[in-house]
C-alpha cells in the first residue's frame, strides 16, 4: 500500500527524472515547475520541509558531468506516512535565480536567505532576501567552491589547501 502511494507521489507530471540515493528517494523538476510541484506535494501530504539548500558542482569529478553548476535541494517529509522525498532543481551559473518556496513552506524563508548568503542564488518573490549569517558588507558567497577556504599552513605539516577549486581550474 505504501509502495503504491509513493509511486503516486512521484508520478507528478513535471517530474523529469527520479531515483534513489543511499535509500533516499528523489525527484528532479525544472525551475519553472518547482513551485507547482512543491504545492502539489504539499497537498499530497508532504507538510514538512526539513531544509532547503544548494550544492555547488563546480569542477566535480563525477561523470557524466552535471548539466549546470548549482543544484537546489528541498527535503520534504510526510508526517503521516513518514516518507521522505528530495526535490532537486538545476540552477545555471550565469542566471542564479529560482522562485521562492517561502510562500509554500515557512521554514524556507531563512533557508533561502542562507542559500543566497552562501551561494549567491537569488530567490524571486522572497520578501526579505538579505544575508543571514555573514555580515551585510561581506563580498562573495563563501560556500561556492571557488571561494578560498583561507587559513594558513602549519609548520612541518603538509601543504594547506587554500583553494577547493583554484581560479585556473574553474
Amino acid at each position: 500500500m505504501t509502495k503504491a502511494k509513493s509511486r503516486a507521489a512521484t508520478s507528478h507530471k513535471h517530474v523529469e527524472e527520479e531515483g534513489v540515493s543511499a535509500g533516499d528517494r528523489w525527484i528532479r523538476v525544472s525551475r519553472e515547475h518547482l513551485v507547482a510541484t512543491l504545492r502539489a506535494l504539499q497537498a499530497e501530504g508532504y507538510k514538512s520541509l526539513l531544509f532547503m539548500s544548494a550544492v555547488d558542482h563546480l569542477a566535480t569529478p563525477v561523470r557524466p558531468s552535471p548539466p549546470e553548476r548549482f543544484e537546489l535541494i528541498y527535503q520534504l517529509r510526510n508526517l503521516d506516512t513518514r516518507e521522505e522525498l528530495r526535490v532537486r532543481v538545476w540552477v545555471p551559473e550565469d542566471d542564479p535565480v529560482a522562485p521562492t518556496a517561502s510562500e509554500i513552506y515557512a521554514p524556507a524563508g531563512w533557508d533561502e536567505r542562507e542559500t543566497w548568503d552562501m551561494f549567491g542564488i537569488r530567490f524571486d518573490g522572497h520578501k526579505d532576501l538579505v544575508r543571514i549569517l555573514m555580515p551585510e558588507d561581506w563580498e562573495g558567497h563563501p560556500l561556492r567552491r571557488d571561494f578560498p577556504v583561507g587559513g594558513e599552513t602549519v609548520d612541518f605539516s603538509e601543504d594547506h589547501e587554500v583553494w577547493q577549486t583554484a581560479p585556473e581550474e574553474a
Binding site: V62, I73, W110, I132, L133, P142, R145, V149
Partner: protein, 407 residues
C-alpha cells in the same frame, strides 16, 4: 516604521489603542545573558507589548560547513562536535549515520548500543544545562547549582569513555572510538540509580512553584498546526501535543529495541515545554537502564579496513595492516558518490546531516539541518503580543544553541 542596521526596514501597522501613540524599536542583545550565546533581536514594542521581533543571527558563524568540505571524511567528525556544543554526540551520530549509509556499512550492535547510551547521557546533560540556565534567568537561582552537579557527572563519564569532557568525537563513521571501561559502567550504574531522585528534586523546586508557574504558564503559546507549519521539532512540537520523536517515529541506531514513551504535553506554552523536558529526563534514564542491561558483546567498529585503522597489535605483524594504516592517515578513504540525509533526535529537535559525496576523499557538501535554526524562526510567532519580560522565558524554553544556529 523603523530601519534596522541590517539595512532592512521593519514596518508594522500600529495596533489599535497602542500606548503613547508610537511604536518603540529596542535592540535586545547580542550580549544578553538570556540569549544562550550571541543572539540579537530587534524588538518592536508598543508600551511593554511585543509587536514585532526580528532575530539577527550570524555572530557565532564559524564556517563549519565550509570547513567540513576542506577536511577528509574521518576528520570532519571533530568539527561536528563544535557547532551544537551542548549535544556533540548527536551531531557526531547524524554525520556518522550519513557517511555509513553512503558507504553502505552498518555499525555492529555493540557500537549501536554504546551510541544510544552516550546520546541519552548527552540528552540529560543538555537538558540539565538548559534547565539550570533558563530557570536562573527567571529567578530560580539555586536550580543552576543542582543541575550543573548532574551535568558534571555526565561530563566525567564523557571523559572516562573518550578522554574529553565536551567535544568527545566519540561516535565516528563505522562505530565508536573506544569500548566502555569497567569504571564507566560503575559510574553509569550509580548515575541511573540516583538521577530519578535528582529529577524529583528539580520538580520539587519548580513544578508547583507559583513564581515559576506565573512566568511560564500560558506564555509563548504555539499551537500544533503552527509548530508543524513553522517546521519546529523536538520539545517545541511535543509541548504542543504532537507526539513526534524521531527515536520512536523513525527509529535509528536500534532505538526500536527500547521501551520508552514520547514525552508529550498538550498546552503548547513555556510550562508545557518545561514538563516535556522533565519527562524526557525520566525516559532517558529508562533507556539507559535497558541499554546497560541488554548491551551485546562484540566488536565496536565495522570490520572495514578502508574506513578505520587496524588494531595496534596487527601493525607489528601484518604488512597489509601497515599499508591500510598509512593510506588511511595520509589520504583518508573515499566515499561512493551520491547524497544522503540522516536525522537524529537531538535534545533540541531534529538534527539532520545532508552529505553529498563526489567520490573523493573529502565531502563535496555537508549541510546541517539544525533544530535551533528552524526553531528560532518560530520565535516571532510565539512572542507576538506578549510582554517584553516574557521574551526571556520564550527564548529560554525554545532552547536554542546559537553555535548551532550560526554554524
Amino acid at each position: 516604521m523603523s530601519s534596522s542596521p541590517t539595512g532592512v526596514t521593519i514596518s508594522r501597522e500600529p495596533a489599535e489603542g497602542h500606548v503613547g501613540g508610537e511604536l518603540l524599536t529596542v535592540n535586545f542583545g547580542p550580549q544578553h545573558p538570556s540569549t544562550h550565546g550571541v543572539l540579537r533581536l530587534v524588538v518592536i514594542l508598543d508600551g511593554e507589548v511585543i509587536r514585532g521581533v526580528r532575530p539577527v543571527i550570524g555572530y557565532l558563524h564559524t564556517g563549519i560547513e565550509k570547513q567540513m568540505e576542506a577536511l577528509r571524511w574521518q576528520q570532519g567528525v571533530v568539527v561536528t562536535d563544535r557547532h551544537d556544543y551542548l549535544s556533540p554526540l548527536h551531531n557526531n551520530l547524524a554525520y556518522a549515520m550519513a557517511v555509513e549509509r553512503l558507504v553502505g556499512v552498518e555499525p555492529p550492535p555493540r557500537a549501536q548500543a554504546l551510541r544510544v547510551i552516550m546520546c541519552e547521557l548527552t540528552r540529560i546533560s543538555s537538558h540539565c544545562l538548559w534547565l539550570g540556565t533558563s530557570s536562573l534567568e527567571l529567578g530560580a537561582m539555586s536550580m543552576f547549582m543542582y543541575c550543573l552537579r548532574e551535568r558534571e557527572t555526565v561530563l566525567a563519564m564523557n571523559e572516562e569513555i573518550s578522554g574529553y569532557r565536551m567535544h568527545t568525537s566519540y561516535i565516528r563513521p563505522g562505530g565508536v572510538m573506544a569500548d566502555a571501561t569497567e569504571r564507566f559502567w560503575d559510574m553509569l550504574a550509580d548515575f541511573v540509580e540516583k538521577m530519578p531522585g535528582h529529577v524529583d528534586e528539580y520538580e520539587d523546586l519548580l513544578t508547583n512553584n507559583p513564581i515559576w508557574k506565573r512566568r511560564t504558564v500560558g506564555i509563548g503559546y504555539l499551537s500544533a498546526e503552527d509548530a508543524v507549519r513553522l517546521g519546529a521539532s523536538g520539545p517545541m512540537v511535543r509541548g504542543s501535543g504532537l507526539p513526534w520523536d524521531l527515536r520512536k517515529t523513525m527509529p535509528y541506531s536500534g532505538y526500536e529495541k527500547y521501551d520508552f514513551e514520547i514525552a508529550v504535553e498538550e498546552a503548547g506554552d513555556c510550562y508545557a515545554r518545561y514538563l516535556c523536558r522533565i519527562k524526557e529526563f525520566r525516559e532517558s534514564v529508562r533507556i539507559l537502564k535497558q541499554a546497560m542491561a541488554s548491551i551485546p558483546d562484540g566488536p565496536i567498529n565495522v570490520d572495514e579496513r578502508k574506513m578505520l585503522p587496524p588494531p595496534r597489535e596487527e601493525l607489528e605483524t601484518s604488512m597489509e595492516a601497515v599499508i591500510h594504516h598509512f593510506k588511511l592517515f595520509t589520504e583518508g578513504y573515499s566515499v561512493p558518490s551520491g547524497d544522503v540525509y540522516a536525522a537524529v533526535e537531538s535534545p533540541r529537535g531534529e538534527h539532520g546531516c545532508y552529505v553529498v559525496s563526489d567520490g573523493t576523499h573529502k565531502p563535496r557538501r555537508v549541510k546541517f539541518r539544525s533544530a535551533s535554526f528552524v526553531n528560532l524562526q518560530a520565535l516571532e510567532h510565539m512572542a507576538m503580543g506578549s510582554m517584553i519580560a516574557d521574551m526571556i522565558a520564550i527564548i529560554g524554553t525554545a532552547d536554542t544553541v546559537l553555535g548551532d544556529v550560526d554554524r
